[in-house]
């Protein structure tokens, strides 16, 4: 269902995994939107006005009304365009609770450990973060087995809430894998997730908006240089 011009705008930055979540959700629903790319290092007036609390991207503007926080945006898009595309969250309340639980886990546990690998100042600190990241992925592998019910995604046959939550980090995961010289989504440790990762990145709703690893590497180098 195409939105009228100007009806849907997304304020964001191309490298942000949080922005990517919003984009994938909008793509899944076939929503046309204007992407307002923020200039790196500068926050636009529109952003500051639309998200005065956190002053962060992404912000979805629907009829100029702002929605902030990536997973809240995803849930909003799912509800606001309920009649388009496939449901992002399942209908059953218990399944929804499970999806929400794992999305929170991904942000609270997986992301900090993955980020910890990049930030680590010593080999020891790095090793610790790597162990934590792998441990988190093991739990997510089990979750995938339960939630996917043998199908391709956490959401079953189609990309769902947890897929978006975790999948958004895949671009940066590849950068960290290269920089740290290791595999996070390891076929031996987490075989289901290793396959899922490729599948997610290749999905129609994702491949155009997932940032290229080389571009992210350059961006990361620039950040480090700062």
């Amino acid at each position: 269902m195409a939105a009228a011009a100007g009806e849907v705008r997304l304020i964001g930055g191309w490298p942000s995994p949080f922005v990517l979540r919003a984009r994938v959700a909008l793509n899944l629903k076939g929503v046309e939107y204007e992407f307002l790319q923020e200039k790196f290092g500068e926050k636009s007036e529109l952003l500051l006005r639309s998200n005065p609390v956190y002053k962060k991207v992404p912000v979805l503007l629907h009829h100029d009304k702002p929605v902030c926080e990536s997973m809240i945006i995803v849930e909003y898009v799912d509800a606001a365009w309920a009649k388009s595309g496939q449901a992002i969250l399942p209908a059953d309340p218990y399944e929804r609770a499970l999806h929400r639980f794992w999305a929170v886990y991904i942000d609270d546990k997986w992301f900090p450990s993955m980020f910890g690998i990049a930030k680590a100042q010593t080999e020891e600190a790095k090793a610790e973060s790597v162990e934590q990241a792998w441990a988190a992925l093991k739990l997510l592998e089990e979750a995938f087995e339960k939630l996917s019910k043998g199908k391709a995604f956490f959401g079953g046959g189609t990309i769902g809430y947890v897929d978006i939550a975790l999948g958004a980090y895949l671009g940066w995961a590849k950068v960290i894998e290269q920089m740290a010289g290791l595999k996070l989504f390891d076929e031996e440790k987490t075989p289901l997730l290793a396959v899922w990762a490729e599948r997610f990145c290749a999905h129609e709703a994702v491949k155009e908006v997932m940032p290229e690893t080389e571009k992210l590497m350059e961006f990361a180098k620039m950040l480090r240089g700062k």
């Binding site: 926080e69 809240i72 849930e75 909003y76 309340p93 609770a97 929170v104 609270d108």
Partner: protein, 248 residues
Amino acid sequence: MAEGENKGLVLLDFWVSPFGQRCRIALAEKGVEYEYREENLRDKSPLLLKSNPVHKKIPVLIHDGKPVCESLIIVQYIDEAWPDRAPLLPADSYARAQARFWADLVDKKMYESGTKLWKLKGEAQEEAKKEFIEILKLLEGELGDKKYFGGDTFGLVDIALVPFTAWFYSYEACANLSAEKEAPKLVPWVKRCRERESVSKSLPDPLKVYEFVCFLKKLCSWHVNGHLCRPEYIVGGFRHGRLTSFVG
């Protein structure tokens, strides 16, 4: 098939936990009967460990044997599992997104900031006070002149925040911070919430909370090697990641 929708509901909880209280309030609003089980967080029950193997924390709501974890997720689950009465979230999807945003903000800010008030001293406590006052003012601004955060209906944001009001007495006693003075517009809202049976029955006596805080402070003064002790092994019900930012 369950005989009545009340069959098989167990809430694993700890009396002083604001996160557990959110669940109690939500269940009471829906008029749903459940079995309350107080956990000894120094000796967690096998049921708790089995039901929340990832975090091993309360609250956990077990519905017909199926566990739901994380307080705001539990509250939304309660709302969705009993959709026929006392809606805790608005019908409109934009309003729902706003409710989730503010409930999430309470989650991100209130507990950590509030804990710093009674844990820290001197300069650090003064900083914590400034931070806490900012959060209160932000919430006050969002409430405005509305009856509740969601408007006329008591809902998710009220449920997320109101348990922390039982700690206001402790914040004043420990940090000389009067939430009522700093955010006067919240005062009528607190009163209004407490008039609801679901809230008055679920929140602890602020004096008992203060006793508990004093107990925690004593424990914290028995620290080893200058590191502040981490009380979450006692209370366990709080989001792990949030405490580590200022411990040790």
